[in-house]
Symmetry: D2
């Protein structure tokens, strides 16, 4: 609950119960269509099944309520689907979920849901990176203090700072896509003892389903994708780490006493219930708070790898809690920054004032070695080289492509 303030309606929907059940039905429809095409089940049965696989025909809450008694959500949904198909076409009911394991159903459905959320994350990260590169271009050699351990260590440029924030995000996006391609596959395992019924057509069926569902084909039909999923979780953790650092840096720079950047202030927030006009860094704080939870969630999923009950059909919802929360960590962090950054206000005069203030406290020699504003020109040179590299990488992966 209360996630509303840290997420978006689309993603809360995508991770909801209805959405997962819809994805399960999507799987069953694709399975029936592919099995009919391969001649494993009658075409008329497939048509009945496909026609019934519509989430509006089902009572999602009931399917969940019955899941414990039925031996898992998959079993519960399959039972309801058989029943409903049987109302119209008694024979077709036997071909629902034909020779298929419950685990395949659940894992593929979660892959579908995850893919949608990753699409939104990708778009937000792309927006953040694009904005940062534009800032880097505009302020290539703008002098600013570089800090380490919260203390000034040299003069650098705001452009270089922006490029440094963008670099890991551009890299993360690429790696997330690669990891998603390996993890988000059609899973199709035979139910126990049903391997013969598939007549060695799994490869063909998986290929057809992959095309319909927009997922990848796994390296081998029996390949347990657990480590690929956990690898994808790690990538989300890395992304959250980079977003968290960006959020934290911006929050520090927008402290009242530093004031080198400020978040755009909405008139409404100015009055708030506080009764005073607060210069807020609330987007950064929210992004930071979201990102901060990712490491624990990655650890939970890594720890689950060596659990005996790992991904057993009836305990997967426990993993799913961590998984969906990890997606929300990354999404919440990316969303808050993607909405705020385009309106970020940059204050060159404050950057300069801090440099001058520091120089005034130093001996001439000290001031010139590390705190000469001209050092920003050197930083600017590096910025330009970085920009070229990063713009190339970002450009070759437009945001639309991920969800496609």
């Amino acid at each position: 609950m209360f996630e509303t303030s840290f997420s978006s309606p689309e993603v809360l929907d995508a991770l909801g119960e209805r959405s997962v059940v819809a994805a399960m039905l999507h799987f069953e429809a694709a399975l029936a269509r592919a099995q009919a095409a391969a001649g494993l089940i009658p075409a008329t049965a497939a048509q009945s099944i496909i026609g019934t696989c519509k989430v509006d025909l089902f009572d999602v809450a009931q399917i969940l309520r019955e899941s414990r008694r039925a031996g898992g959500v998959a079993a519960s949904l399959v039972a309801r689907l058989k029943e409903t198909v049987g109302l119209f076409n008694q024979e077709a009911a036997a071909y629902v979920h034909f020779a298929c394991s419950d685990r395949s159903l659940i894992e593929t459905a979660l892959a579908l849901v995850t893919r949608d959320v990753l699409g939104w994350i990708d778009a937000d990260v792309s927006r953040i990176a694009t904005t940062l590169l534009a800032l880097a271009e505009r302020h290539t050699a703008l002098p600013m203090l570089a800090r380490s351990g919260l203390q000034p260590v040299a003069v650098s440029s705001f452009g270089l700072k922006c490029a440094g924030w963008a670099a890991p995000l551009v890299g993360s996006r690429q790696r997330l896509r690669r990891a998603a391609d390996r993890a988000l596959t059609v899973q199709l395992g035979a139910a126990v003892g049903a391997l013969a019924s598939l007549e060695q057509r799994e490869g063909e069926i998986i290929g057809l389903m992959a095309r319909e569902l927009g997922l990848a084909v796994p390296k081998s039909p029996w390949h347990a994708p657990r480590e690929e999923w956990t690898a994808l979780a790690c990538e989300l953790g890395l992304l959250a780490g980079s977003l968290g650092r960006l959020a934290q840096d911006l929050a520090l720079m927008s402290q009242h006493e530093v004031g080198e950047v400020t978040e755009p202030v909405k008139a409404a927030a100015l009055v708030a219930s506080h009764g005073y006009p607060r210069r807020s860094s609330s987007a950064c704080m929210a992004a930071w708070a979201c990102a901060h939870h990712a490491p624990q969630r990655v650890a939970a999923l890594l720890a689950a790898m060596s659990r005996e009950d790992a991904h057993a059909a009836d305990t997967w919802p426990v993993e799913w809690t961590d998984w969906s929360q990890l997606l929300m960590s990354a999404h919440g962090s990316a969303r808050a920054l993607a909405q705020m950054l385009p309106g970020l206000q940059v204050h060159p005069e404050r950057m300069r004032a801090h440099i001058d203030g520091l120089r005034a406290q130093l001996s001439k020699n000290e001031a010139e070695t590390c705190f000469d504003p001209a050092l920003a020109l050197e930083a600017g040179q590096i910025t330009r080289q970085q920009l070229q590299l990063l713009q190339g990488e970002l450009g070759s992966h437009p945001p639309g492509a991920a969800a496609g």
Copy 2:
């Protein structure tokens, strides 16, 4: 989502948005009543406010939707409450949330919600401990292999095993109560600049509110309870650890090849969708899986202690996610075991068969040193002493008392 299978309707309700908003209104009503009693606000205003603090009068979803714009959930609720009170009594509106900080409202409301969930956890843990002590009494000196690192190391008794499971649970219950008493207090801080309006009556007001809300009085009115909350989280983590160990031990003992205990099987689950009668250890697996997540959630809350944004009024929902999930870890684990344990089947003949089987592989001397069934008598003696101690401790804290 999908938590249904690992929780109970009561707890899912208690942790829901409506429940938190109801608790907030409960706080505002208690505040108004206490401030009127102390003469800080007019009695008629208090009556209007108290009469309006009913969750049915409010649109919970709207309050949440508006929370970001309003500067937090507290601000959003207070705004709606003022508006609604004002419809009936224009003057009373000014006395809503009088001189009170937003953070006080949120933290006290979460204390109320948490107290309810802890009541259910306490009852379940009490049921588990009672059942284990009864088992220990019935099987005091029943010979059974003691194992370490999954290998037999000696003969002990099943009674001693049960007493060993019960001991940390009995201790956890007591410590959880103490920790709850320290953490679940009325919080009442003045809004910035409003301290004078309280006329140094905070102590009196807090006392009245504590009585009405059934919460404790904090050590000092300005005492930040953050470390007490996190200490309570640690106690939940410790409880989950003990429950997880019990669940794991039982799951290992109920392996098909070991079969020393078995979970009661519901006829319905026998057929399941698997098509074969599976001797299930699903309650243990669920309890184990739930418990397994607690350490990460405790770590998340410990890490949050040193965050700058910690408990800032507008980022607390991020903590609340971890907090409510930790409550659900402990509750889910306790609930699964509390429901299953009373029906646990014990199989003395399998326990004996494993001892005999092992002895047959050993030399006579070896068999007598560590694997003499008579060693169970020694274990039985210890069991009886433990039982007396534990029954005394458990008896002095009946389950009802927690929520009271």
Copy 3:
């Protein structure tokens, strides 16, 4: 390695291999003396054993090297001890580690080592709290911006800030002591099948040993102290959280641009290899970095509670790694702050300048509501009340008492 920079020679020694082996020998000597007093073993045998239990007589590295082959460190040490005792008194060798389990030896030895480290932590935390209370007294009503989410929200006082830092530390110290009393007990379990040899004198023997070793008597002789140990770990995690927050707050206040406090600067560090005089916040950064690791280490110990191999005599060194690192997190953080704080420089003029600078940006009304320097007087009143409470609590637990 490299821990030198974040610890102290005493604590590195206390956690070293030699120190643990010495504690094991201390246990064996106390065991022999107590068993002789109880008439279980001959007094002459006890004298031989006690005389031989000196760490200088043993090759610590060899004991560790042989531990894997011997089946654990305890077995390895006991074998060497028997051998050495036997050189002088052949009969006495049979009474070494008489009827005692290996686990008792290891766990009691670690309790001894832990108690020593906790003594140092206690002294440092006491020093920090004392210094903070002195600062609170000196600057009771000194006006300073209160900040939330890194932004100013009101005027408060530096004294109140100091009291707020001290409060959780004073509480932590008390709770750590209580937790240590419960966890750091003599463990004395019979070796398998040797219970009869003890003639039901365990209670008496434990009492004697507890007095000699300066440890507590466990609630029951067979009480597994695992959850008490993990509870102690949680307390260390909570302490680290409070220290981390203090370190972080100070680091933020000592930023060049804020400058409300500054760490004392050693002349040597001024030049450093950097070539410029850096105003450092390195003590705070070190304390923060140390504290930051505690949550993961607590999580590792909580997770270990439900591990089958938990505290099995031959895998305990894995837990010990986390345990000793957690001790070092808390110690490193406390040490860095305890050394730096007495020299902390406070800059009232910068505190005032930030208030005035902010007020200049606000309307008169806004400035007066939350940012009136007179609000520091209100804060000062609260500070005085807090101080009285905290000085009382701190005074009733002088630092020396912990190690005693």
Copy 4:
């Protein structure tokens, strides 16, 4: 301490202080040689520096002791190196660590140390995978119960089980190598204000150093490799997860009551100090215990990504603690399994007995659907296909190549 039992002398050496200091000197020598080749420093100075960069010439303990005062280990070593070079060649001292940042020195040295440890891990994982594939080949269609949630769910084959264990390890090895190639690069940043001295020759110098040190060239000279390092940590976490699962599965299968496999027993361990011949699963338990710690250590490194002090030159040793412990988790787990697996004893008769025992409890129909031993033939077919795939992948990356 006590890590000896869970590691190997080589790796303990590689992660020791002496080894890190040696790597730092290796860096300084390579830097001098490359800068001389690029004409930035005199060839005679380079020769003096190279000749002095020998760890035997330095007092490692002293360098560490002085590191706090000097402002970090890098500064401490550079000071000593300058002094020592100056003894022989006064002019050369000025060219030690020429224009180079301290951070470059530390990070490259740690890359060298890490590379060595990864080489040993790679060799062990390769040995484990090879052994598992050989077992899969020998027992392709050997009937065995497949279990989920610790209960039998079907008949499968031991060969398929072995292939399933090998698959993620083969994948992990490849990914670890790729991640290492990206993370383990020469770092070469200019000291603040010294960029001009490098005359834009960084690219050339880095190339020369990379060749000499056997590290990769970073994507850009100013590319902060933090996320690549953390990505490498994630890969180690994934490897540990797969090793932990293997260890746990083997430990469960070698329970006394299951006995489908057994660890090779060394005669020495039979007697142990326990006094009874324990059928041990100690290698598995050790491997499991080591693996179990990896998730927390990955979380610690992920959390460090967004820390302000992240990789500040003077707090990196705190990260290094987690980093070296993570390496030890993966190494300890791999080492224990690599040493034990080649001697693993497989007991087909016990596998068969469990199948038959279960069938005897089921109805004929139930027994045939899921527990027909002939199902092992189907599993065998899949095993053969998997084997071909995995042998190909494993073969194309021989173990020697990693360290090369």
